[in-house]
Amino acid sequence: MYHLLRTIRLAIKSLLLHKLRSGLTMLGIVFGVFSVIAMLAIGEGASKQAQEQVLMLGANNIIVRSIKPPEDSGTGGSANVRVLRYGLTRADFNILKGTVPKLSGIVPVREVILNVRNRDHEMNPRVVGCTPEYQEMNHLDIAQGRFFTDQDIRNLSNVIVIASETAEMLFPLESPLNKSVQIKNRAYRVIGVTKERTASAAIGGSLSGQNYNKDLYMPLDTFQSRINTKDTIIKMASGSFSAVSVVYDQITLKIDHPKIVVEPDVIIAIAEMVRETMDTNHAVKRDVDVIVPLELLKQAEQLRNIFNVVLGSIAGISLLVGGIGIMNIMLATVTERTREIGVRRALGARRIDITQQFLIETIVLSGTGGLVGLILGCATPYAFGGIKGIVKYYILDSSGDKSEMANMFLTMTPQVAIWSLPVAFGFSVMIGLVFGVYPARAAARLDPIEALRHE
């Protein structure tokens, strides 16, 4: 042990003799380890985000959504007023409410993009008709005022709650509370504003991303009677009318099953039942989809694994290249220090001593590189914050809005995976060991006399 420490100390001394060279040699490993950690951090961040989002949806929930069936070109044809009727119906709602076991809550939602104005301020937010449970389900916090209650539902109150960005756009200079907002020729009183909530990114293709900050919430019954009148919304776009008839866009079923971690199969089984029911009721149009966050969680897990393997191996290759660089320099060093090797042999060093000396020098080199890479890697999330700041201001698409890519980038939050630190560091040391063996053995094999004579 003592001998090893001494050898390490002397190795550092030898490496410090050529600071620039040692530094440059180390760089390969530094970047290798850094990229391994950074890549895995990005992967980890993405999967954490996906997981969080799925948990936001509620692991105990089963989400039943209406999906717009593909336009079949055969029917309708030239008719310019045609009602597109699809999705969940009141019958579905009643069946689900009556048949799903262990049901602790059922939250129907209807949403539509509508033009909304406050005098000359106008915007097109997503108008969401929902029940008070929606607030808790979507983790919406109230910044001012209150969310609507069951009372508001029963009274068909003309009240709305608006999200932070909506509030900013409609009421840039004043408090929106108790002010009125005009939607489709009717006025609604603002009773609350929600706090800003980070937008959710899309998860594995099953669920698109959502920006909760441009929403406008309204009691479901108010929405159904005033806006979704007779379940139909007629919109005029470029001269032609389109009518869509949907009762609910989404019904969220809350299952009372606290032992979710131990027995996830119960939720899956109930979800299967719901799926079957929906499939029989919507056998022709297939306009209903059942989403189980628990299943998404598993998908996210799989996605993460693929991500980690791909990113990890790319970074691993750079580590390998760094190792080859080290071997190259160490071979040159052995040649350069041939005479020193000869002297050490003359003074009594055995072959194993020489092997050890150069091997440890290589390992110290790669290990130090690994350590620096580790520190850089750990700084990735912070560096990302800075890069995001730049992206936010400079990468805009032609319409002056943030481009798709920038948005994707902005939602990325790398998170250093703790397990990747020892793995990456261990890998760097291993690289030193593997690529150090050849130069070290080459050094030890030198004939002492030849080595001493070397110029």
Binding site: V343, R344, A346, G348, R350
Partner: protein, 232 residues
């Protein structure tokens, strides 16, 4: 008198592929304990080869070499390394200090390879300092080799050779790279080491240097041409 080294018909051939160079062609020699032997000869006479064999840096092609009664040819590489470390001290023409080490660290190099790797004790450290003082570099222990003159570097090499208190010192043209005054100083040191009872074997081609030794051999074409000093 007890023999430090005994050479019996020692031969050394270098196989260069197309030709075989016979560097030593049957040398027999007895070196008594406490001798100060100067090996002389022109370049290519085999004197360096002989010193390498004597120092255990090389193995003879044939013949026998007994170092303190032990046949070196039968020893393993590790055993010979241990002998070099404990029994022999080397001094080279071009000093051969380790460039990245300080004076003190250079003196301590033989400590790194002691058989069994005993930890460096404070007594060892004291000895390093003592040796540095002895060769007159007590105030320059932190200097690096490039900060020293040739003579100073050679003194460090002598201190290093003495570190493990060897019985034999092999010196290969120790004054070859030094001016005559410094050379004399170095020779003086070797002489006093010899007076302390150490056997010294020195290769040189300078008559003035060889004159300081007790006994002399003259090499020619891989053979001992004669004992004594042969002038020009």
């Amino acid at each position: 008198m007890e023999l430090t080294a005994k050479l019996v018909n020692l031969q050394k051939h270098y196989d260069l592929g197309t030709i075989v160079v016979k560097a030593l062609r049957g040398v027999s020699l007895d070196i008594p304990e406490g001798d100060f032997l100067a090996i002389m000869g022109s370049s290519g006479s085999g004197k360096s080869t002989m010193l390498n064999l004597l120092g255990g840096l090389d193995r003879p092609t044939s013949g026998e070499y007994y170092l303190r009664g032990q046949n070196v040819a039968t020893l393993s590489d590790d055993e010979i390394s241990a002998i070099r470390n404990t029994l022999i001290g080397f001094i080279f023409q071009s000093f051969n200090l380790v460039a990245q080490y300080s004076v003190l660290e250079n003196i301590a190099v033989p400590l790194l390879y002691r058989p069994g790797y005993p930890p460096i004790s404070s007594a060892d450290e004291d000895r390093c300092n003592e040796l540095a003082k002895m060769v007159g570099l007590g105030d320059r222990t932190d200097h690096k080799p490039y900060q020293l003159s040739g003579g100073q570097q050679q003194r460090v090499a002598i201190a290093r050779a003495l570190m493990n208190d060897p019985a034999i010192i092999m010196a290969d043209e120790p004054t070859g790279n030094l001016d005559s005054k410094t050379g004399e100083e170095i020779l003086g040191m070797l002489k006093s080491l010899n007076e302390q009872g150490r056997t010294i074997i020195m290769v040189t081609h300078e008559v003035e240097v060889a004159e300081q030794a007790k006994s002399h051999i003259y090499m020619k074409d891989g053979l001992i041409a004669g004992h004594g000093i042969f002038r020009g």
